[in-house]
């Protein structure tokens, strides 16, 4: 049933009319989301969308090309600071500043891609780690970037007299950009470039032998991935309204990597699922632990008995960690693997 009979069947955006139908239904659903969901959730949803852009981009690098990056928080920061500063200091309109910041990030991605030609595995991760930390030091020490205090982003003026203020209006902007970038990523993967990435991942020597230019494609992969991170960072700045260098740290880079691994390496859907799950868990899981019905009192008792005074606040991290470990142990393909299983189950249901 999934048999492909020709090349053009393989590169279609929608595999069948069924997929097309449900994709459109899903799009209608997410575009009408403000009708069913209270406004309160849209800040979190915006963060989810931003992280989806980033995870899809990171997956191009990690999942498809087989390179590793512990410096993506750096690209994320370049995007955030780039967009805000281009608008503040050079009065560029938003729709120019955002892609420009993305390209600045992509340029740094290209630079970082150069050592990737010689380095692999742990060595590459150290190089990228160094990059991430350096960027934060530079931004933190330079008054032009607002120093350690941080900067206030300008109003989100998208031109034509529209200034987006509410979370819901920002949601629509970010949603449209996310959809475009996700479709772009899916299409890149079905072109010559995408196949070159996969060839490098599977064996870079073999890829070179069959004519893939390693220099070009490895740096390209870094650049594309950094571009996605830059765009995500630019939008993140507006979701937040005010930011400082502190949060763009090593832990954030690792969280990004976790999103991709938990979601599923080498699949667009994996990036989306992983980013959604990890963001929601990290930002809203067990935050209101004391006020939760039934288990709240129980957890408070456990914390008072065995933990320190701030033990309660650690439950969120503990559960997040357990979920991550659980997924990686029981489903090596990540959430994408879970999705495949659900699909398979329904295909043969009820037998």
């Amino acid at each position: 049933m999934d048999m492909k009979r020709g090349y053009y069947e393989d590169i279609q955006l929608f595999e069948s009319n069924v997929v097309l139908f449900w994709s459109i239904s899903f799009l209608i659903f997410i575009f009408t989301l403000p009708l069913y969901v209270p406004d309160y959730h849209f800040y979190l949803l915006n963060l989810v969308l931003v992280h989806i852009i980033l995870a899809v981009g990171l997956n191009i690098l990690v999942g498809y090309t087989g390179q590793i990056s512990l410096g993506h928080a750096g690209f994320f920061a370049i995007g955030a600071y780039g967009t805000a500063l281009l608008m503040l200091k050079m009065q560029l309109p938003f729709f120019l500043a955002l892609p420009l910041a993305g390209f600045i990030a992509a340029f740094f991605g290209f630079i970082l891609g150069l050592p990737a030609l010689r380095l692999e595995g742990p060595y590459l991760s150290i190089a990228t780690l160094g990059f991430g930390l350096t960027i934060m030091q530079i931004i933190g020490h330079w008054d032009f970037f607002g120093g350690r205090t941080g900067i206030q982003v300008p109003p989100l003026d998208i031109g034509f007299g529209f200034i987006l203020k509410t979370d819901v209006s920002k949601y629509y902007l970010i949603l449209i950009i996310t959809i475009l970038l996700v479709i772009a990523a899916r299409n890149i993967m079905k072109t010559r470039v995408g196949r070159a990435f996969v060839a490098i991942r599977d064996s870079d020597i073999a890829a070179e032998v069959i004519g893939v230019n390693l220099t070009a494609y490895k740096t390209l992969s870094f650049a594309v991935s950094a571009f996605y991170a830059g765009i995500a960072g630019g939008l993140f700045g507006f979701v937040l309204g005010y930011f400082n260098p502190e949060p763009f740290n090593l832990i954030l880079s690792i969280i990004f990597l976790v999103m991709v691994v938990v979601g599923g390496l080498g699949s667009i859907l994996g990036g989306i699922l992983g980013a959604s799950l990890i963001t929601i868990l990290q930002f809203s899981l067990l935050k209101n632990i004391k006020e939760m019905p039934y288990i709240g009192d129980f957890l408070v008792a456990v914390s008072n008995r065995w933990f320190t005074v701030v033990g309660l606040e650690n439950f969120g991290s503990i559960v997040l960690g357990l979920i991550m470990i659980g997924i990686v142990i029981f489903e090596p393909l990540g959430m994408y693997g879970v999705w495949l299983r659900i699909k398979k189950y329904w295909r043969t249901w009820p037998f």
């Binding site: 049933m1 449900w22 069913y36 969901v37 979190l44 937040l240 949060p247 005074v309």
Partner: protein, 398 residues
């Protein structure tokens, strides 16, 4: 077969709605007939966790108020949330507190960037923020009608401490060791302003980075400059490293430190006793003070929150909440945000365990007064100078 594939998406969509609706409530007002909800946020986990202590303190004063029958029959309920010192998280927890729990006002709240990220959101929703546990000039100028600041500005504190060193201790050679950020630079401004008034100049002004671990070259510079007093605006760990390094090169100036390093018990312990003799500014009475209110808070803390260490910053959480409780009492039985704002704006010379606080509708920096302490044996507190204000404060001139 295709029919079954049709079922996957609705299944997902239904699941999504279910998850989202399970956690959604309507936006609640800040109070009802039974209770008034107040909240604080700060880092409770992660590397910045020690700074979050102050945000659990208000639980004590709330317990006392409730024991005494509440405010006009309404009990106080306090929420404390962990934001891991990350502005993105702060916004999530603040939105949750405002829109789900229905919080009337915030007290304390740690992290400059965290506070800056949520201040506009709070103003839009008419949420009052009393006594941020940060000292940031942007919060008070221009006047934000919903923010009532209490922490003395770092520049005021630095100015008062410098005056003490110059006038009382008669030291002319002053060196400054400051963290190279807004916190350190604000203090440097205050020191320069005070010294300029006395036609003096610091013999050394040395910026250090928060991440610097080796301070030996800076300490040697200070020693060579002949500084007899060194004023430091640093993180606790950097301050301890500075003292230890100075001890190894046998350099013994008078050390003067900021209010952020005034938890003498803690500093004495982590410096291995070197903190003894250090002079610090202070924005709250020492936790071992015999002031009747402090005794009351200590007893209540022993009773209601026995697991907490009664540290300086934990007790300071009460100091930050006192003016709000006072204003709510004065606001009367017909509580509303407007009534509370009116009461807060008419706060005049209110004093609990902190300095005297005055807020008017066009001046929301409540005080510039600090005490000056010296660290005694075993981290005890020796009072050098009672509440003193800064006659050079820039924000007072209009």
């Amino acid at each position: 077969m295709a029919k079954k594939r049709f079922l996957i998406f609705p299944f997902m969509v239904v699941l999504f709605i279910f998850v989202m609706s399970a956690v959604s409530y309507g936006a609640a007002p800040g109070f009802d007939d039974k209770e008034i909800r107040i909240a604080s946020w700060g880092p409770m986990t992660g590397p910045a966790a020690p700074w979050g202590t102050v945000n659990r303190g208000p639980a004590v004063i709330c317990a006392i108020v409730n024991e005494e029958g509440g405010i006009h029959g309404r009990k106080l309920k306090h929420f404390a949330r962990d934001d891991q010192y990350n502005p993105a998280q702060t916004k999530v927890v603040v939105k949750e507190l405002v829109e789900k729990q229905g919080v009337f006002a915030f007290v304390a709240g740690t992290g400059s960037a965290c506070g800056m990220a949520v201040k506009d959101y709070m103003a839009e929703n008419k949420i009052i923020w009393v006594a941020p546990a940060i000292s940031v000039k942007e919060l008070i100028s221009p006047v934000n009608p919903y923010i009532f600041a209490l922490m003395p500005l770092y520049e005021d504190e630095a100015s008062i401490l410098t005056k003490y060193v110059v006038d009382k201790m008669k030291i002319k050679e002053i060196g400054v060791l400051y963290q190279n950020d807004a916190f350190g630079k604000a203090a440097l401004d205050g020191i320069r302003q005070r010294l300029a008034k006395n036609n003096m100049k610091a013999v050394a002004e040395i910026p250090i980075e928060a991440t610097d671990k080796d301070l030996s070259s800076y300490i040697l510079k200070l020693k060579n400059s002949g500084a007899k007093a060194v004023m430091m605006w640093l993180t606790p760990s950097a301050a301890v490293i500075a003292l230890k390094t100075a001890a190894t090169v046998n350099y013994k100036p008078e050390w003067v430190a900021s209010e952020t390093l005034s938890d003498l018990g803690l500093m004495h312990r982590i410096s291995g006793g070197l903190w003894e003799g250090v002079i610090t500014g202070a924005f709250v009475l020492p936790p071992e003070s015999q002031h009747p209110l402090m005794v009351k808070y200590r007893n209540a803390s022993t009773k209601y929150t026995p697991e907490e260490r009664q540290s300086l910053f934990y007790m300071a959480g009460n100091m930050f909440t006192e003016p709000l409780v006072d204003a709510l009492k004065r606001a009367g039985k017909n509580l509303s945000t407007e009534a509370a704002l009116k009461a807060l704006n008419s706060t005049k010379n209110f004093q609990g365990i902190g300095p005297k606080v005055t807020w008017t509708s066009n001046q929301h920096q409540g005080t510039d007064s600090i005490q000056i302490w010296r660290c005694g044996p075993n981290g005890s507190t020796i009072l050098l100078q009672d509440w003193t204000s800064n006659e050079l404060a820039t924000w007072k001139k209009k």
